[in-house]
């Protein structure tokens, strides 16, 4: 099963178009929404995982999005956490929507599940020790 994680940024005029519906219907893609920020009259941001048995359908779906004026980027950024410097306070977990950063309920140490991370970057400023950063 082919899979791809992409970041979509679309202008305010696109916010009300049923883009994900078209991806499902016309390109037979399964869509897993990892992160969505869609506010009327503002530009939207959507992080999605596309999957289908063929790479071709995924590529066709992405071409369609680009033709619609949506900027498509691969989700290649990564959150880096300097575990050695961490004091395990937990302040970053307060803003982590995706539960990638969480406190181990036994040790009360911070754990980071990279696969769950959608790189929303909320944890970067929330860390009082300044030890969480984004790498490209």
């Amino acid at each position: 099963m082919a899979k791809r994680r992409i970041v979509l940024t679309f202008p305010p005029s696109m916010v009300e178009k049923p883009l994900t519906y078209r991806l499902v219907k016309d390109f037979d893609l399964a869509i897993n929404i990892l992160y969505a920020r869609i506010v009327p009259r503002e530009s939207g941001r959507l992080v999605i995982e596309l999957s289908n048995s063929s790479e071709e359908n995924i590529n066709a779906g992405i071409r369609f999005l680009e033709e619609q004026g949506v900027s498509v980027e691969p989700l290649s950024k990564e959150i880096r956490w300097d575990e050695k410097e961490c004091i395990n306070c937990g302040a970053c977990t307060a803003v982590c929507h995706s539960d990638a950063l969480y406190m181990n309920p036994e040790t009360w140490k911070l754990e980071f599940d990279k696969d769950k991370c959608i790189v929303c970057e909320m944890c970067v400023p929330a860390c009082p020790l300044r030890i969480i950063s984004v790498t490209f």
Partner: protein
């Protein structure tokens, strides 16, 4: 007449290596299993600890005299202003003071951490010049080892319980309780709960002025009641204050401290603060002390306060106990709200263990307070008044 034990007996046992020390977490199952009386006979000392952001932290520095000497009137350490309205080369650097060049990203707490780490810190001072202090400016570097004296004097640390912070407004807010998401999107809490010092001695029977403590990795002392010490707040049947109550002013030698147990912090769009590690041993003088130190997270209730309202009196949404807070979610008005800590329980445990080791190895003795902390007191607010109101 129940079982009694004195400070002297405990210190004698520490000296001879026979002392029995456990942490405030370890004693809970012991009491459940063996009962209060048996545990009172068995255990001599219980260690408590906390490692949380404590803004009211700072250090007194005495730089030593230069040649020719200077009576410093303005002082900067790595561009962070320090208060020097005391004697010629004395200054106080507060943890929350911001750098004049790096703003929010570097402050007094970072200067303190850099000094503790042994890093060179740039000292700049200006003066008006006097007959005995002719020099008008100086620029040099100091370190922990070259500076004459440096000790922490923290006006308010180790808050006895604290509020839980939420935000009911429709915008994200940035506070000393961390980033609070709109419409009750999250809740943050800040206490070591059942391991926290003053929650294990709720009426300050053994924690008072002169109590020897663990501060930032070395031995320190309770110097005074902390600012905003407010023991008369409402309490549960077991005597646990509901919300912020007692506080401690702490003192300790910066030169002996260890960065593992005291760290500078930046709260986004709020400012600089400092994570301070505090550990306090509680001598088991009698059965009542065993009851106090067996306090559990579910016995500790904190008010849920709406930081979305920028006023002194903020609306509250009832209380949550620490067992609920530690479960990762609480329910407010029927809404499930995820919770997150700000105070590091992992570090607090490390401190409680370290203190336990020091006592077991005969390096740390318990000290009877020379004076108790006030048992009744409430914080006075600041009102806007006119001079003629006092006539």
């Amino acid at each position: 007449m129940g079982f009694r034990r004195t400070y002297e007996e405990i210190n004698e046992k520490i000296k001879t290596g026979r002392v029995v020390v456990v942490t405030a977490e370890e004693i809970i199952p012991m009491v459940e299993e063996k009962g209060v009386e048996a545990v009172a006979r068995e255990v001599d000392v219980v260690t408590t600890a906390t490692f949380g952001p404590m803004c009211s932290t700072g250090a007194f520095l005495n730089f030593g005299h230069s040649d020719p000497p200077i009576k410093m009137t303005r002082v900067w350490l790595n561009d962070v202003p320090a208060y020097t309205g005391v004697a010629a080369v004395d200054a106080y650097i507060g943890a929350t003071e911001l750098s004049e060049s790096a703003g929010f990203e570097y402050g007094g707490a970072h200067v303190i951490e850099d000094l503790i780490s042994g890093k060179p810190v740039k000292l700049k001072a200006t003066a008006y010049g006097t007959d005995c202090y002719p020099r008008r400016e100086i620029e040099t570097y100091i370190t922990r080892d070259t500076i004459n004296q440096a000790y922490l004097f923290n006006p308010r640390n180790a808050y006895q319980n604290y509020s839980v912070a939420v935000n009911s407004s429709d915008r994200i807010i940035y506070t000393y309780m961390g980033t609070l998401l709109p419409k009750l999107g999250n809740a943050t809490y800040c206490s070591a709960g059942q391991l926290s010092p003053l929650l294990n001695d709720p009426y300050y029977r053994t924690i008072g002025i002169g109590t020897r403590i663990f501060l930032g990795g070395t031995q320190g002392y309770v110097a005074w009641e902390g600012t905003q010490h407010s023991p008369s707040v409402s309490r549960t049947e077991k005597g646990i204050p509901i919300g912020g109550a007692g506080t401690l002013a702490l003192i300790g030698d910066l030169k002996q401290m260890d960065r593992r147990f005291i760290r500078a912090a930046v709260f986004h769009k709020y400012g600089v603060s400092m994570y301070v590690g505090v550990g306090i041993p509680i001598p088991i003088l009698d059965e009542e002390m065993v009851q106090f130190v067996s306090v559990k997270d579910e016995d500790i209730h904190a008010p849920i306060v709406d930081y979305g309202v920028g006023r002194r009196s903020k609306p509250t949404y009832g209380t949550a106990n620490y067992k609920e807070l530690r479960s990762g979610k609480i329910t407010i008005n029927g809404k499930v709200v995820p919770t997150a800590p700000l105070s590091s329980l992992a570090k607090a445990r490390e401190i409680a263990e370290t203190l336990k080791t020091w006592i077991r190895e005969g390096k740390f003795f318990v000290q009877r307070p020379v004076q108790s902390l006030p048992a009744e007191q409430l914080t006075k607010p600041l009102e806007i008044r006119q001079m003629n109101e006092f006539k």
